[in-house]
């Protein structure tokens, strides 16, 4: 049985169908890349997973349990509890400029008060991501690659089952793309499933286990990376 399954997700903006009846599934520990040209609905699909866009229809099944089914209206706190299964690393990272690296990573854990050990966890994550000497730095002093790693640490701090990346290579120099590829693959130990939106075919080939190609909001092809590129 698949670990994470997305069934029949659709999202329209007015009359425009941005995501049209998309379904896919992932085994535990797999990395899925969502590819396709610009404006094809990749990012909207990712935003639907995190419920930044509320899907018109569809459902998510995680570890055999239906965690989400699109209904007419859903209370904000229910949406928030579903979001806890997902982490998202934004294309432009969206770090909080007024907080240090460590404060960025720990803010949500501190407010939600779930894990009393959240500070140590943050230290571990920063160390793992090579940012231990940047804990007290402010985001504007960091390079793009470092900011991205802070955003990753911030997402991992909350122990999501699925972590999503929106165009992880777009803000980086080409040499750094290889590093982030290795980094994302190393996250398999931390999270159960990884979903990456990218338009960079080379990157998708290197990073993923499965590929889903979208066309006009629909699934054009969904396959393992070996089959897709053979």
């Amino acid at each position: 049985m698949a670990y994470f399954e997305v069934r029949n997700i659709s999202k329209s903006f007015n009359e425009y169908k941005a995501v049209d009846d998309v379904s896919f599934m992932l085994e535990k520990g797999e990395i899925l890349s969502i590819i396709g040209p610009s404006g094809v609905g990749k990012t909207t699909l990712l935003r639907c997973l995190n419920l930044l866009e509320y899907p018109d229809k569809g459902e998510y099944i995680l570890n055999g349990e239906k965690i989400f089914e699109a209904t007419e209206e859903m209370p904000e706190n229910e949406i928030r509890s579903i979001r806890k299964h997902f982490g998202l690393v934004f294309q432009n990272f969206n770090l909080f400029p007024q907080y240090t690296v460590k404060e960025n990573v720990t803010l949500a854990a501190k407010l939600n008060n779930i894990d009393p050990d959240y500070r140590n966890k943050a230290d571990e994550l920063l160390k793992k991501l090579g940012l231990e000497d940047k804990a007290d730095a402010y985001p504007y002093t960091l390079s793009g690659g470092q900011q991205q790693r802070v955003a990753i640490a911030r997402a991992l701090e909350l122990n999501p089952e699925v972590i999503c990346f929106d165009e992880p290579t777009s803000a980086l120099d080409p040499e750094l793309a290889d590093n982030i590829c290795k980094l994302i693959r190393s996250l398999k130990k931390e999270v159960s499933a990884i979903i990456v939106v990218t338009h960079d075919m080379n990157f998708a080939k290197k990073v993923s286990d499965r590929i889903i190609c979208l066309k006009d909001g629909k699934v054009d092809r969904f396959d393992t990376v070996e089959n897709y590129f053979s």
Binding site: L88, P97, L111, Y138
Partner: protein, 217 residues
């Protein structure tokens, strides 16, 4: 020399009224501005529309005219000269409403200038709207509104001189008494008082800006 001190003291008493108006206006207009700001950004259309009309009227007419309207209209229209014995209160109410509207627009500009990604980053971290506003957005808004706010506050110092149209005795009104007696220099001398206060405010706002300079963005 003796006369210089007498005049200085007299002007200082007048300026005390100006400062009282200044402080009370800030005290009430800063929070009221926030309420008007939320009203004008509200999803409830009639409320937003009402607030925007008020802002348009207040920003679209001279403050001096507004002072006259608040002071005279209750008496003329309803035969209730509410402020006949308390001209200062009429001036204060006008100033509070006027400045609250300007402040509300500064707040709105500050809130809207925070990128939507900051709200979304808060959301994906599982925070609720209140947590997002107070822990993420507010600080960024304050940093952005300090410069326009300091501008407005310094304008307020000088606008207090308008209240003499309804015979509230502030510093220029005091100076005009001397002018009527043939002594012109006290009128020009009032400028020193304004300069000292606005100078202090400039230093204070520069300090506040410096407090937020530790980060960018």
């Amino acid at each position: 020399m003796n006369r210089f001190f007498t005049v200085s003291y007299d002007l200082l008493l007048g300026f005390a009224t100006s400062i009282r108006l200044f402080i009370l206006t800030l005290l009430f207009a800063l929070p009221l501005g926030l309420i008007i700001c939320f009203g004008s950004m509200s999803k409830i259309k009639p409320l937003a529309c009402f607030c925007r009309i008020i802002i348009w009227i207040i920003r679209g007419t001279p403050l001096m005219l507004q002072i006259l309207v608040v002071f005279y209209v209750p008496g003329i229209l309803f035969n209730m000269p509410l402020f006949a014995n308390n001209r200062f209160l009429a001036a204060l109410i006008t100033f509070v409403i006027n400045y609250a509207c300007y402040f509300s627009e500064i707040y709105r500009g500050g809130i809207e200038s925070v990128p939507i990604g900051q709200y979304e980053a808060g959301k994906v971290l599982g925070l609720n709207n209140k947590e997002i506003f107070f822990n993420i957005i507010l600080m960024q808004v304050i940093k952005k509104i300090v410069p326009p706010l300091s501008n407005e506050v310094i304008t307020l110092v000088k606008d207090t001189s308008l209240v003499r149209v309804i015979s509230v005795v502030e510093i220029i009104k005091v100076a005009e008494k001397y002018t009527a007696k043939g002594l012109i220099w006290p009128l020009f001398y009032t400028g020193v008082y304004y300069l000292i206060l606005s100078g202090l405010l400039t230093v204070m706002f520069a300090y506040i800006e410096k407090c937020f300079a530790y980060y960018r963005g």
